[in-house]
């Protein structure tokens, strides 16, 4: 692959992501680059991201989907006229945070953490915003559905992956990312409860 071809490929890649009305995954992009391998295109993406580093526009990777976005640090200056979105209720914000930091988790586990029943509307709302989706069923009695966040969530909050969630390490080291009911977290209580089916500590 000579340099000239690579420069052309970069231009095509740039135009492609720019022209697309939605973020493009590597496999989307590969449709245009069938004659080369994914590793080469991943290299192009990295190089293109480098080109835009620190500019007013950035090439962003949200959960493996690539798009151009304005740089967050010009947000204040940009002060675009934005239709004010209906502010998410505190309950919905909390629920989203709990799903994001504890995923995958069941609705019962969300309720454990929040200490209140979760209205059906809350998860619907988060699903409608394309921030959460049902994940796999937990292989425990009743096979409850789990909930996980989407790439739309990552894209909205400008995160490359869920491991980039703010304060994740702090919460983890404080032991707060525990999906079990509170009483089960007390060390000496362990033997009182049947934990055989529990997979709460898998992160």
């Amino acid at each position: 692959m000579n340099n000239e071809t690579q420069a052309d490929d970069l231009r095509i890649l740039e135009a492609l992501i720019f022209a697309s009305d939605k973020p493009l995954s590597l496999s989307d992009i590969m449709k245009w680059f069938s004659r080369v391998d994914e590793k080469y295109v991943a290299g192009l993406l990295a190089s293109l991201r480098q080109d835009y580093d620190g500019r007013g526009i950035e090439l962003c990777d949200h959960g493996g989907e690539w798009s151009f976005r304005t740089n967050a640090d010009v947000a204040a200056e940009l002060d675009m006229e934005v239709e004010v979105e209906r502010k998410l209720s505190r309950a919905a914000q909390e629920t989203l945070a709990i799903i994001a930091y504890h995923q995958p988790l069941t609705r019962a586990e969300i309720e454990n953490i929040r200490g209140v029943a979760t209205g059906k509307g809350t998860l619907d709302l988060l699903m409608e915003a394309n921030w959460v989706k049902p994940g796999r069923r937990r292989e425990t009695p009743g096979r409850p559905l789990t909930w996980v966040t989407t790439t739309g969530f990552l894209s909205h909050f400008g995160l490359e992956s869920v491991t980039d969630l703010p304060g994740l390490d702090d919460l983890k080291s404080a032991g707060l990312l525990d999906r079990r009911p509170a009483v089960q977290t007390v060390p000496m209580s362990g033997e009182l409860f049947d934990e055989s089916g529990e997979d709460a500590h898998d992160e």
Binding site: L16, F18, A19, S20, D21, W32, S67, F68, R69, T70, N71, A72, A75, L78, M80, V82, E85, L88, S89, R90, A91, Q93, E94, L96, A97, I98, A100, Y101, I113, R114, G115, V116, S155, H156, F157, G158, L159, L165, P166, G167, L171, A174, L176, D178, A182, V183, T185, V186, M188, S189, L192
Partner: protein, 271 residues
């Protein structure tokens, strides 16, 4: 001058029973209220006095007698649980407790503390999450789309042999419905024979007013191979020759029955 004390702003109106009812979307349950109370102690949740917290909560429930029943019920469950916890914490731990394998007051208090700490952690992180630059508020995607990458559809045409055969069948069927046309035969008409004869006789060598004699058969088109058309050609030519003889353009002679017929062109006397 009247003087009212500022309410501590981190203790919301929820602490007045009426407001509690109105604020249900913000304060959804007893745990939330407990957390608010715990925060009011302005101490690390790990070091919080569960006993003091429990007393405050139970005071609140005492105070809030006018709560709507279904809301109050939710609070009363927690109140009962906390009352139990309080008794555990106050009473000296008996040897029986261990035997009954019940959670000690300390363990329950620890569990409650964890629950509150985790909830607080989640509330704080939710706020932090929504402080992130958000798409459409702080960060923007491309606003205008002048063109998309154009994805052309290349058709892969589908047809199987049956399609082709049935198509051909329908053409063949259509042929049967063609408009009726009387069958025509590729035979020489008398008119055609007349025209042919006079044209060819005109090209024969001439002697005076007459051309040379020629065999009538020789005027039959050479490319007639089929017996029927050959016979019809001969008949038409014979009829045409009789017609020409009658008009005085032609002389005919035959030496005997079934002998060859000869013709020669003859200018009419009056010409």
């Amino acid at each position: 001058m009247e003087f009212t004390e500022d309410k501590p702003n981190h203790i919301p109106d929820a602490l007045s029973p009426d407001a509690l009812l109105l604020n249900l979307d913000g304060y959804e349950g007893p745990i939330d209220l407990l957390l608010t109370l715990a925060r009011d102690q302005k101490v690390d949740l790990a070091k919080i006095s569960i006993l003091a917290l429990t007393e405050q909560y139970l005071d609140f429930i005492d105070h809030a007698q006018n709560l709507r029943l279904e809301v109050a019920a939710d609070y009363l469950v927690m109140a009962a649980w906390l009352a139990y916890l309080k008794s555990k914490l106050l009473l000296p731990q008996s040897a029986d407790d261990e035997a009954e394998e019940e959670l000690s007051g300390e363990a329950l208090a620890e569990a409650l503390a964890f629950q509150l700490k985790r909830l607080e952690g989640m509330q704080k992180i939710a706020a932090k999450l929504f402080d992130l630059p958000q798409l459409g508020r702080d960060v923007f995607a491309r606003g205008d789309h002048e063109r998309e990458a154009d994805i052309k559809v290349k058709p892969i045409w589908q047809a199987d042999l049956y399609d082709i055969l049935s198509a051909y069948g329908s053409i063949a069927r259509r042929q049967e419905y063609k408009e009726y046309k009387p069958q025509t035969w590729p035979l020489m008409s008398t008119d055609e024979a007349y025209e042919r004869l006079s044209r060819m006789l005109g090209k024969l060598p001439r002697k005076g007013r007459e051309s040379v004699w020629a065999m009538l058969d020789s005027f039959t088109p050479e490319d007639l191979t089929d017996a029927l058309t050959k016979r019809s050609g001969a008949a038409s030519l014979f009829t045409a020759s009789l017609e020409m003889a009658k008009q005085g353009h032609l002389e005919i002679k035959q030496d005997g029955i079934f002998s060859p017929i000869y013709v020669r062109q003859k200018d009419r006397d009056d010409e």
